[in-house]
Amino acid sequence: MSDLCRLTIHEARDLLRRGEISAVELTRAHLERIETVDARVRAYLHVDADLALAQAEDADRRRAAGEDDSLLGIPLAVKDIITVQGMPATAGSRILEGFMPPYEATVSRRLRKRGAVFLGKTNLDEFAMGWSTENSAFFTSRNPYALDRVPGGSSGGSAAAVAADEALVALGTDTGGSVRQPASWTNTVGLRPSYGRVSRWGVIAFASSLDQVGPLTKDVRDNAILLEAIAGHDPRDSTTMPEPVPRYEDLLEGGVQGMHFGLPREYFVKNIHPGVRRAILQAVDKLVELGATVEETHLHYTKYGMPVYYLVGTAELSANLARYDGVRYGFSAGAANMWENYRQTRGRGFGQEVKRRIILGAYALSAGYYDQYYLKAQKVRTLIREEFETAFETFDALVAPVAPVPPFKIGQSPTDPVELYLTDVLTLPTALAGLPCISVPAGFMEDEGESLPVGLQIIGKPFDEATVLRIAYAFEQATNWRQVRPQLA
């Protein structure tokens, strides 16, 4: 493997600035890396080498003309639920197979303006609904640390691409944990920004009040750089907030000395794997060693996260996915009449999990059930948010595990949906509350003879990504788990 693929953004930035490497060299190295390992990792749904090299050449020209930017010439990957001009967008679904969007997401546009190079689109669970990429209509991505296991999901392709050095950084989306959980399982850094921090325009919707785009990176500094590039108010997304975007990279230093963290007991759920528990408690010790105080606390509403999430989220997606009707774009079954074409297009175009959730959501909204399901869920959602607000009166941040269990072996995910849904119980309440949170590498655990990554979750106050990143950075600098590389050769 070329050493160029090991670089972070900030390392590559220095080399590019000094003229020691070119964007074309950097891009070519990553395309070669994809060529070498992706048949095994299967991170990408779509790679466009010509387009990537053309962008890299353009980046080199811009640099030669005197331009300088952290992202100028940086090759990255984008989860295939975020639209990029000139690339297909499938959302991991048959129903969008072959769809070429005539626009691109605000986040993509912002990265393009900064001179980033788009390598391709990464695999995901269909419409971001899942924990493993096993719900992708196309194939399952592999965990670079254990190729017989899933990388997590739904942003599994993006996490795997970064972990396997197939991209410097990648974008994912997090609706209920889809950035943090795969980051936790692939020894990468994954951040879910505050709801309203990053534009959803051009991001294929799953659950509108929960979806957020987040960076998946090799280290915290890169995460800060990428977040700053995509964050900020967008007049085309009315749910984005006008809060100014700080220069996160400049706010990483300072450590955790004197900070006070809460450790919610409820996040150590019954089914938590002892290896996860051990890693998190060790991480807590490390934070204390670094000068922070950590106190056990309670978040009593944690257990309602799952039911609330699966009512609100499915209600929203049942409407968001109604547009896939075979009339204007995407897959169409071509049946003889309108209703039959709806049935066949959606029946064949959507996978089982998507259909299950559409039905759940439609049910939660239907006459006679709205009050007891959707409305009740929204009320509990408010209680969950308020409970976090109260916790933040005491704590600077909360620390917790990300996923209670290690990555599943492929094909061995629990078959009972309710058991499966328990996989993301520790990432749902924060998503419902719209809080910024990060998964940062916190060591490894043993499971059936394999050494598997574990992530530490750091949860911050609304729009205080800076503090979340600063804590994660202090922890990362003191532990440096990212030095443990996957054995892919």
Binding site: A205, A319, R328
Partner: protein, 479 residues
Amino acid sequence: MSKYELVVGLEVHAQLLTKSKMFCGCSADSWDAPPNSHTCPICLAMPGMLPVINREAVAQTIRAGLALNCTIAEEAVFARKNYMYPDLPKGYQISQYELPLCVNGWLDIDAGEGTKRIRITRAHLEEDTGKLVHAGDVSLVDLNRAGVPLLEIVSEPDLRSIEEVNEYLSRLRQILVYIGVNSGNLERGAMRMEANISLRPRRSAELGTKVEIKNLNSFRAVRNALEYEVARQTRILDSGGEVEQVTLGWLEHEGRTYVQRTKESAHDYRYFPEPDLPPLFIERAWVEELAAGLSELPLARRARFESEYGLSRADADVLVGARATADFYEAAVAATGDAMTPKQVANWMMGDLFRLVKESGKPLQEASITPAMFAELLTLVANKTINANTGSRVLKTMFQTGEGAATIVEREGLAQVSDADVLAQAIERVLAAHPDEVGRYRDGQTKLLGWFMGQVMRETRGKADPNLVRQMLMERLQR
């Protein structure tokens, strides 16, 4: 009189007059445009697209709400109304459900000598659907109209006759056009109606079973559909039957309603708050600003015309019918000053001017004549420079050429002849030429005076001062 009382509530969908659509930048005016030429990824509901609220549509809705005496919400929420149909690209319509922009208003309509207050339940903002074009055995989708802002105005079931329904719709249309939020052009679908109708025995307090009639695209369709339903339901009730609660469609060409949906198959729209749009907080200062900018409404203006100008209600009603007409009238009255009474100005307007406007086929505001020009003409008549008949002729020329009245009078030598010597000579010529008639007049056939007047006018090519001629003729013939 029928033994049943008709009870009607109306839902009116009025297309707002915004430049762009409700949630995207596409032009809202796509009349005659090629199919799907006014569309973009947002109104085509492509993946990942998000709506952004059109501020002007909200402003127009608030203005309509104010004109309909509604309370304007402090917090308004958009909601998704879910159903699948090819003319609805997102599979849901963004509408308002629990917290509409305007609630609890009313509209006064004429009822006999007085007025009747019809309560408005709510007025909310939503987006229009596209339309399906059926061509042989295929159906084509045109989404030009998809996403155009619609104002939905829902009345309470306060209407008790088809005449009241008609009056309500006419008044509503008049107000919406007056305040500039609707074109009033029903041929182009600017207003579409749904009627909720039930019959009950007279003097019964309970409401009968409600039937909803959809897709009524003209006031005439509303009238015809209601007449049809009254007859149908009367037959059912007379024979001891029960009216079924259904949703009906109206077949204009066949002149009958048909069942679209029964109660059992009623849609469950699964409304829920639109998560892509945060709640709208309507600032009171903005509402006040919009209220201040609202023009005087037709009924208030009519009352003022009656009291201020001494017009009859019928005349005032005609003059306030369109805002441009009322504005023209008031400007003309002011410019005419004391030369003519407002009543005389109204007569000239409703007579000669309206006839010319009607013949031209264009609205008054597009005519070449201004209120000032009209007032100049009336002043020439009032100060006897020209007589009334000449005035009519001059007005017609003004209308055609856009010239001023004085210019035309001068060029064509139309000034009234009031010179007694000139008129006396003309009278002498007429009497000399018609000795028989002079004799008959003197024998008592005094109604021949009018005939003599006509002869003298002809002699003077219509320019003679008619009052003076009449006086001189009577004196001369009595000699």
